[in-house]
Amino acid sequence: MEEQAPPPPLPTTTTETLDAATQRKHAAMLDRLSNLQQSRLLSHKPSPIDTPPSFESTQSFLSRFSTTKLAIESDLARIRQSPSDPNPIPDPKSQLQSLSLSIAGLEKFVAENSYFLPSYEVRTCLKSISDLKQTLDHVTSLVIPKKKFSFKSKPTKKGPIAPTSPTQTESRNTEPTKVGSFKVPDLPGFRSKESEVLTKVFKGGGLDEIGEFTVSDLVDCEVRLLGCLRALFVHRLRNCRVYVGPVFGSVLIEEVEGCVFVLASHQIRIHRATLNDFYLRVRSRPIIEDSCGVRFAPYCLRYDGVERDLEESNLNEETGNWANVDDFRWLKAVQSPNWAVLPESERISAVEILNPDT
């Protein structure tokens, strides 16, 4: 070294030739660098999954990934259950935020290790992360109440709920009249009631005598429709219990919240439903659209002659389709977060209606 030409001047050796300002700058830079390094080390510590990717083994990566994923999922499930819990989680908002951070951490973890992982694993992991994010969004919308349900907020704008609901109905009823100046006749149904028990028995003397029925704009009611009917329309119900005998055609349910339905039908469509339980017997696959928090269980209505009515309507056979729900807002192979099978422990026991004639 000494015999050769002098080496290029190192920073330390050239300090004498530099002016004071440059020296200060230099020192500050070194300082900043070491600070950065420090903070990097610090920030690495708290996150459990941020270990340096030294193991480079797909096996250990995957096991670590799935443990974290499971932890996040179970947290999500717990928060999701909390609104119905007697002792809810104190601050779901901050919990959800921290979960969001964990998911981001998990994503980073995958990214850091992606260089040695098979591309299939990377894809699968990223897919599960995006699923987690979606579930998180869903749970957030469930738990943070501002997004809860639309028709609740409408009346509150105008005043107390009770007086406005009839006017709502009126405006609805006039809508068809607007179309082509045609007056739509009043069809059989229960409309605009509050806190009542509404019973109707259909005495079918042959299927041609059985028509359609509409149940709309009810709050805190119990509806019992016994016997066979041809078609059922349900619209805007809140906190109601609806028990229906076999429907020989289709059932269309829109905008319901906090209700329990016990229905048997050939086809069932459920639109814009929030937090309802459905006890169904259905020949085809029931569908939900724009709904969340809906749960399903098998049909459980009993009244005098129900077996005969079911048979007459070709609904005597339990197809198991009550659990084959298609969510039109979730066209993926994985289970939709918007609906679930109602756990057996939470199901109501059979609904028995005595003396349907009274």
């Binding site: 607007k178 739509v184 359609e212 086809q267 639109h271």
Partner: protein
């Protein structure tokens, strides 16, 4: 492939009709198609996507595209507009509350340029249900008389459940050549 076989192929193509069947969910589109085809209609799930049925009718081959009507998937209807010869709009005549919806979606559909040449058959379905509106009433509610005069259209009451009116609807023959071929089929 010789010239003759190419010509034959084109000829055969001409006898193929593409019929698009749309309407709100729960109006009975799939039930109608299966009923015409003589299939079991007791187990039909709401259509997620679409079904195609090919049927022979007289000397024509009909390709009936039955496209799901749930709100979420209505925006995909336009993917099926190309080369449609006949349009069938199905109405649930017993669903009075959603007739507004029904009119809105039909009006939108008829604005579509790619469907401007297609004849329109409106099936006022579910006539068997007590309380269902008659075809005349549906005509008024949907304001069909106000439709563009160049469009060939017709409304027929039917019941996919009993089968009534389906063949009547499919027997309609408007005057122009293109539509004749379509509507013989219909």
């Amino acid at each position: 492939m010789g010239l003759l076989s190419i010509i034959r192929k084109i000829k055969r193509k001409e006898k193929e009709m593409r019929i698009l069947m749309v309407g709100l969910d729960n109006s009975g589109k799939t039930t109608i198609v299966l009923k015409i085809n003589g299939e079991d209609t007791s187990v039909i799930s709401p259509t997620l996507g679409f079904n195609i049925k090919t049927m022979a009718y007289n000397k024509y081959t009909l390709n009936i595209w039955d496209v799901g009507g749930q709100r979420t998937i209505r925006s995909y209807w336009r993917n099926y507009f190309e080369q449609t010869d006949g349009l069938v709009w199905v109405v649930d005549s017993s669903d009075l509350r959603r007739l507004d919806d029904c009119k809105f979606e039909l009006d939108n559909l008829l604005k579509e340029e790619r469907l401007s040449g297609a004849s329109l058959l409106i099936l006022a379905n579910k006539q068997d249900i007590q309380g269902a509106l008659s075809p005349d009433e549906i005509t008024k509610v949907l304001n069909l008389e106000a439709m563009d005069k160049t469009r060939h259209w017709r409304i027929v009451g039917c019941s996919a459940y009993t089968g009534d009116g389906l063949l009547e609807g499919f027997d309609w023959r408007p005057l122009d050549e293109r539509a004749v071929t379509t509507m013989i089929a219909l």
